[in-house]
Amino acid sequence: MVKVDGRELAWREGMTVADLLGELRDPYPYALARVDGRAVTRHEFDKAPVPDNAEVFLVHLVVGG
């Protein structure tokens, strides 16, 4: 199981951030995700692993500056 923005989602072996977004069917153009606190940018979504029991936050806008 992984937690995504507080919601539970079933985990599977080899899951990536891109896979997780596909499961959610969330089309929002997230620029950043935090996987157990680690920052992952969009470029890494299809490579960045999501471990079992991970806590993931999808950062919908990084505005800053």
């Binding site: 923005d5 929002y28 153009p29 620029a31 950043l32 935090r34 606190g37 680690r38 920052a39 940018t41 969009r42 470029h43 890494e44 936050f57 950062v59 919908h60 806008l61 990084v62 505005v63 800053g64 500056g65």
Partner: protein, 712 residues
């Protein structure tokens, strides 16, 4: 070392007014030439038109200077203000001060915002703003004692040279055993020997038992300070409570403050981790999106950027509360404890370094081709304590390095120094030379605009090439974002009133990452709204980071997520609760538009403020060199084909560079047209008569300036 002494030269007693709805309703005037000290009233019209903070500063500065006033004339004024919401201890980010003056690098109006306690303490001591004119022939300390209700001018002797030592010494000297009551404004030796001097504003970190520093960096305000013979400004105040501003509606204030504070506490750990890494979180994000300046903005990324990522700085930063004002839950002003520099006067000694933030990491790191976090920490330390703007230092050295690597200058000009990108020893050596005013560092410390003039005139360097790669506009060095792929950010930099500082519009992500502003019209609208909303923070004494560096959980569901409207609504409620002036979100924009437009006309008064002054170097717009083009050839070829319908088959890179340049420069000019129209300005970038009348800033002296420039 000589013992510090402070000999009183003038004493002025005053009656501290009650703060009413965020205002002291008076300002303090000090003239260092004749040691005149006076209290001047704040009128209702001032509050209505200028609100406070930067607005008050600009009005005071406007009255002090003529169009011909130069930065080092005695009549130039250094103005510092908080704002009506400044000093609130329960709302995140409520401790900012704004400094304005005629800039040493641009010759025009400069404003720079800074944390620390000075502005709020100044207000609670009885003054919404401070204006200093004249020059002292001896090192002067202006001490505003809000507790005793006296202003003193002291002649200082035996002060140390560096800012962190001056702050510590004067905090102890004037604190009377209560160092938390003191805030000190200082600069350092670098400000006396360069045009890019900064100011340090202190607060006393009780948990760490030391003075901490934030900087008003841009535009040489520290150089103006040093030129006036000011050794330090000191303010003393004691109790700060939620009632200190005497808000119109205390209950409403507490309610909205709780909402925003809680939002920060809940969301920051899920988003940018500002409370543990500050703006250092941006380094790898900018790198991944090809927006991190590398080697004088030639490139946008580098494989070694992760060496300066947030995890590294999380490990370096000392843990603890790091708010630069009381009660801020974002608490992002981090520092490195017990750092041991490897160079300079503090080599081998343990020091505390306030920072680094993203700008210094990028400017004094990646932009120099250096990816060593400890090097960046050392540059940060010396920039602050020498009183030097770390953005101008970084962008300036980056320019010198590219000139060196391309043979525009040689070791014959640099005093034998190898200024190849990546050379840490040379970068540090330049910084130390800036502090002493010696060697090639003294030349670099003149800033990019003057370096171009010097290199061309004295070294025979090609001015046309340097005009393309010298990253300054209006005389101010660019801050640390690679704008060449973002038309919106080109506008954000080029159309900024004071020069290319991102505090007016940071649109790079909206443009490049999210494609939220694809059309000219949407970019023009963004370049209207965002600079105005960001201006509003400076009118009120607020930091903008709690607005959009942390966003509500449901922000993405809102119609305009980039504006973070829930927070904007809270800010409107905050303003209403303190001042009693009912405000909706659109009213905040209206407030700012008056001051923003006034500042543009002020630039015009000083001989700037026209379309030609909104020009930016081509390095900020597109690839200057064949190498830059070929580093992103797929992207540029694709754009020429897909956007401009050009067949690039068989064309040499040199020709493609030339074609793309023409297209991009035309595009930037069309953006100017769209933005000027949206802002109610002429094609030459001057506010129209209709606009100034609509905004209620059609004062006789404003109309005179417009008339002199053909707008009547």
């Amino acid at each position: 070392m000589a013992t510090f002494t402070a000999r009183e030269m003038k004493r002025f007693g005053y009656e501290k007014p009650l703060i009413e709805k965020g205002y002291a309703n008076q300002t303090l005037y000090v003239n260092l030439s004749d040691r005149d000290i006076a209290v001047r009233p704040v009128t209702e019209q001032m509050k209505e038109v200028f609100v406070g903070g930067k607005g008050f500063d600009l009005w005071l500065l406007w009255q002090a200077v003529r169009g011909s006033t130069r930065w080092n004339d005695p009549e130039n004024a250094l103005c510092i203000a908080s704002g009506p919401l400044g000093g609130t201890p329960i709302y995140p980010g409520s401790g900012k001060s704004i400094v304005t003056s005629i800039s040493a690098t641009t010759g025009s109006v400069m404003d720079s915002n800074v944390g620390g306690y000075f502005g709020p303490y100044l207000k609670f001591s009885g003054f919404d703003a401070l204006a200093i004119q004249g020059k002292s022939k001896v090192p002067a300390i202006v001490f505003i004692d809000g507790i005793e209700q006296r202003v003193h001018i002291f002649e200082a002797a035996g002060l140390p040279g560096e800012a962190h030592e001056i702050s510590a010494l004067l905090t102890d000297y004037f604190g009377g055993g209560e160092p938390k009551d003191i805030s000190v404004v200082t600069t350092g030796p670098g400000a006396r020997h360069t045009l890019i001097g900064c100011l340090n504003f202190s607060w006393y970190d009780q948990a760490r038992s030391r003075s901490r520093l934030k900087q008003a960096g841009r535009g040489g305000v520290g150089t103006v300070f040093a030129d006036k013979g000011i050794a330090a400004l000191v303010v003393r105040w004691h109790t700060v409570t939620v009632s200190s501003n005497n808000p119109a509606d205390l209950s409403a204030l507490k309610k909205v403050a709780r909402l925003h504070s809680r939002d920060v506490v809940e969301q920051d750990p899920k988003q940018n981790h500002m409370s543990s890494v500050g703006t250092a979180h941006l380094v790898t994000i900018m790198n991944d999106y090809d927006l991190l300046p590398v080697r004088n903005y030639r490139y946008g990324s580098h494989p070694d950027a992760a060496a300066m990522g947030e995890d590294v700085f999380r490990g370096l930063f000392d843990k603890g509360f790091d708010g630069c004002w009381i009660g801020c839950t974002l608490s992002c002003a981090h520092g490195v404890k017990d750092f041991v520099p490897v160079s300079g006067p503090y080599k081998g000694q343990k020091v505390f370094v306030d920072g680094p933030e993203y700008e210094t990491i990028a400017g004094c790191g990646s932009n120099l081709g250096i990816f060593d976090p400890l090097f960046v920490v050392e540059m940060n330390f010396y920039c602050d304590t020498y009183g030097l703007d770390s953005i101008s230092v970084g962008t300036g050295i980056a320019f010198a390095m590219e000139c060196f690597e391309t043979g525009l200058i040689t070791t014959a000009h640099t005093g034998g120094m190898d200024l190849s990108f990546g050379n840490r020893e040379s970068a540090l050596a330049l910084l130390h030379q800036m502090a002493t005013g010696e060697g090639f560092g003294a030349v670099v410390g003149q800033g990019v605009r003057r370096m171009k003039e010097i290199f061309s005139r004295d070294y025979g360097a090609d001015l046309a090439v340097m005009s393309d790669i010298g990253m300054e506009a209006k005389g101010l060095e660019f801050s640390e974002y690679m704008s060449k792929e973002s038309l919106a950010q080109q506008g954000g930099y080029g159309l900024a009133l004071k020069g290319p500082q991102h505090d007016e519009a940071w649109l790079i992500f909206l443009d490049m990452v999210h494609n939220f502003i694809p059309t000219f019209e949407s970019k023009a609208e963004a370049l209207h709204w965002f600079p105005l909303f960001r201006t509003w923070f400076g009118l009120c004494g607020l930091c903008k980071l709690p607005w959009n560096d942390v966003t509500p959980a449901d922000n993405k569901e809102t119609p305009e997520p980039a504006k973070v409207m829930k927070h904007v609504e809270w800010y409107a409620q905050y303003f209403s609760a303190v001042t009693g002036r009912k405000a909706l979100p659109e009213d905040l924009i209206a407030m700012s538009e008056k001051v923003y437009t006034f500042q543009r006309i002020f630039s015009l008064k000083m001989g700037f403020g026209r379309r030609v002054h909104d020009t930016i170097p081509y390095r900020a717009v597109g690839p200057v060199t064949v190498d830059e083009y070929e580093s992103r050839a797929d992207r540029y070829d694709g754009q020429l084909k897909d956007i401009y319908n050009l067949d690039v088959e068989g064309k040499e890179t040199r020709e493609k560079v030339r074609i793309l340049r023409r297209l991009r420069e035309e595009r930037y000019e069309r953006l100017k047209d769209a933005v000027y129209e949206r802002r109610g300005w002429t094609e030459d970038g001057i506010p129209t008569l209709d606009t100034v009348r609509r905004l209620g800033i059609d004062f006789p002296e404003v109309l005179e300036v417009l008339k002199a420039h053909g707008v009547a």
